[in-house]
């Protein structure tokens, strides 16, 4: 009569040295890299809550050497920086956030629709110029948008005479410019995904009586939801952080985007408001984090789809 486990069944434990050699060093390297990557984030957050303008300035001069490292942990926690930024008339942070969220939300959505429509055409329809069209789209995408800044400026100045809403210095104008922005990459990404949806499904739906519009919206778009969400998030994030074009179109600090506004805080070498910028950066991260939390599940499936069958 023996028990479920024989008397000699023993789980052998790995010796510490062996563990370090086989597994441990990977952990060490990973930890090192995490610290490396997160340090700026940590720096910005502590700076924002320190209430001061720079961490080094707040550091007492008697602390030198390794002791100075403790300055990364502020001795006092204060919301001064946040308060200044939210209440000052000089820097209307809430307007910046409103503009940015508005542009990022709506533009990403419209760009998604346009990109998906183009991707559907490239994936499903056969027409003259399909291949050259796809190549041109990719090629044009290679040039950074900054190259077009002069043209954008001139165009928007002229447009302002006719449609002030879309002219230079208006949020509408910036939105208009952004619409053309990431179309190429989005279209490519989505076309690749659409191609994995069997055409049989389209054909079956057509025989069942569905129109092309219905097939596009209720079948292809529905079945490629993961990639749509990826594209939406990526484009939301890119628009949120865009600086050079926004700086040209909306140079006025009273009506601009978060990126331009925060940049303006430190642009003048004589008056650099690092503390305010850090506080603004922390607050500006909130909408991005929210969008990320909503989309994260699809982000994982969307980005890895295709790598594994099924």
């Amino acid at each position: 009569m023996s028990g479920p486990a024989g008397p000699n069944t023993k789980v052998e434990r790995m010796s510490r040295g062996r563990w370090l050699r086989l597994i441990g060093w990977r952990h060490l390297i990973a930890i090192l890299f995490v610290i490396w990557a997160l340090f700026p984030v940590f720096y910005v957050i502590t700076l924002a809550f320190s209430g001061g303008n720079t961490l080094t300035a707040a550091c007492p001069p008697e602390k030198t050497g390794l002791a100075a490292l403790t300055c990364f942990f502020p001795s006092t926690i204060s919301l001064n920086n946040f308060e200044t930024l939210l209440t000052s008339d000089q820097w209307p942070f809430m307007i910046w956030i409103r503009n940015t969220v508005l542009i990022a939300t709506i533009n990403s959505f419209v760009a998604l629709l346009m990109g998906a429509a183009a991707a559907f055409a490239f994936s499903r329809l056969r027409f003259t110029g399909r291949r050259p069209g796809l190549l041109t789209l990719m090629l044009v995408q290679m040039f950074p948008g900054v190259l077009a800044i002069t043209a954008i400026y001139t165009l928007l100045t002229d447009i302002k005479d006719v449609f002030p809403f879309f002219g230079i210095g208006s949020v509408g104008g910036l939105a208009l410019v952004y619409l053309g922005g990431a179309l190429g990459v989005n279209t490519f990404l989505m076309k690749g995904y659409f191609d994995t949806i069997p055409v049989d499904i389209d054909e079956s739906a057509r025989i069942d009586g569905a129109s092309t519009v219905r097939i596009f919206f209720t079948l292809v778009m529905r079945l490629s939801l993961p990639i749509l969400i990826v594209v939406y998030f990526v484009s939301f994030q890119a628009l949120f952080n865009e600086l050079p074009i926004a700086q040209v179109v909306l140079p006025d600090a009273q009506n601009t985007t978060v990126a331009v506004g925060l940049n303006g805080l430190v642009a003048n070498p004589l008056v650099q408001q690092w503390g305010l910028m850090a506080a603004g950066g922390v607050m500006a991260a909130i909408p991005l984090v929210i969008v990320f939390l909503i989309t994260q599940r699809s982000l994982v499936t969307g980005l890895t789809s295709g790598s594994v069958k099924g």
Partner: protein
């Protein structure tokens, strides 16, 4: 229910590929017609043109007497079952079946009743809430069928619906589809590359090769009176045995010289084919079905209707013994025989004794005691012999 008429239908692709050539078929009301042929013969293209998924380059297509060349698929009142089933992965089985009805704005109650009726017919009732992903291959196949029958269309189109199933399930679904379609009495066009499916399911079969219709007839007609070497070899398993034979004028009438011996042709065979006289001293292709041969020791065939061969392989199947034997004849090698060999996989088999001439397959009665390596005589039922012109590959008739 309706007739489907294809009149000189052609499909020419932009790159110049002529996929379907002058195809004319009339499918009767309620008929089950099978389009069969090796891969790339244009059968699927033809079906897709009937469905409206592919433009017709020229020719006329009529469904129920109405020209539908320019009509969109949804206007043709057809339903199609795809090889991949093409189910909507995000919809439940019930919604999959009801999709077409929903788009046609059928009232909710009626829709539900029709979905339930179709589900009952296909034994899907307990699966209606599931997603396609949760179903087995056979069940998915039945959902695809359900989606077709629920609409009560004029015509069913099926594009290799059983190809994705394993062999056992395929046999089962074959009879299931047959019985469902026949109980509905709806005109059906069914595409397959499997001649067994074509033989067992179709009222008539249309054998195609390289975009051209080779023969249109009942399975029996195609099997018993093949129009040419291609149909003879493609229809039936194993393929018809062929050998080159010289037509000779003997004292008792016409005969066929095979491997140095003369087989005398029955009078009836000659009488049916007056033009055979023009082949005297020339070669014809002699075709014999495996079941038209018998072990010489059991056969009553006279000595001038026997051939001598060596057994290469025997397969005892219980009800019959399949005997592969070789004899020193000249093989018939044409484009058609190569195509069929490729299709049946015979081309990949290594010929063990190429010097042995041709290899035939005969099915003997189970009493036969032949063994591998035996030198045997095989009685050939020449009354049922098939004769073809090796130049044109056409059957010699009339």
């Amino acid at each position: 229910m309706a007739t489907v008429e294809l009149e000189n239908i052609n499909k020419l692709y932009d790159n110049g590929f002529h996929a379907v050539k002058d195809l004319s078929i009339e499918v009767q009301d309620g008929e089950f017609l099978v389009l069969v042929g090796p891969s790339g013969c244009g059968k699927s293209t033809a079906l897709r043109m009937v469905a409206g998924l592919e433009d017709i380059s020229n020719g006329e297509l009529r469904i129920g007497g109405r020209r539908v060349n320019e009509t969109e698929p949804q206007g043709r009142d057809i339903a199609m079952v795809f090889q991949s089933y093409a189910l909507y992965p995000h919809l439940s089985v019930a919604d999959n079946i009801g999709y077409g009805l929903k788009l046609r704005k059928v009232p909710k109650d009626e829709m539900k009743a029709r979905i339930n009726r179709a589900a009952e017919m296909l034994e899907l009732t307990h699966l209606l809430d599931r997603r396609p992903k949760q179903l087995s291959g056979g069940q998915r196949q039945r959902v695809a069928m359900g989606r077709a029958i629920v609409r009560d269309p004029k015509v069913f189109l099926m594009d290799e619906p059983l190809s994705n199933l394993d062999a056992k399930l395929r046999v089962q679904m074959r009879s299931e589809i047959s019985s469902v379609v026949r109980s509905l009495n709806t005109t059906t066009m069914y595409v397959t590359h499997d001649q067994t499916e074509a033989m067992t399911m179709g009222d008539r079969m249309a054998v195609m090769k390289a975009g051209e219709l080779q023969q249109l007839g009942t399975p029996g007609e195609c099997y018993d009176t093949p129009r040419n070497i291609f149909v003879a070899q493609f229809v039936g398993s194993p393929p018809m045995n062929l050998v080159l034979a010289k037509v000779v004028e003997g004292p008792t009438g016409l005969g066929l010289q095979v491997a140095g011996e003369v087989l005398s042709l029955p009078d009836a065979v000659v009488a049916e084919r007056p033009s055979l006289r023009t082949f005297v001293d020339r070669d014809v292709a002699l075709g014999v079905r495996s079941e038209d041969m018998e072990d010489g020791s059991l056969s009553s065939a006279p000595s001038d209707r026997r051939i001598k061969g060596q057994v290469a392989l025997t397969e005892a199947l219980g009800s019959q013994v399949v005997v592969h034997f070789t004899f020193p004849g000249r093989p018939v090698v044409t484009e058609d025989t190569k195509l069929v060999a490729k299709e049946t996989g015979a081309a990949e088999q290594i010929s063990l004794r190429p010097d042995r001439g041709v290899k035939w397959v005969a099915s003997f009665a189970p009493r036969s005691k032949v063994k591998m390596g035996d030198e045997i005589e095989i009685g050939v039922d020449l009354e049922r012999a098939h004769l073809f012109d090796p130049e044109t590959s056409e059957a010699i008739r009339g």
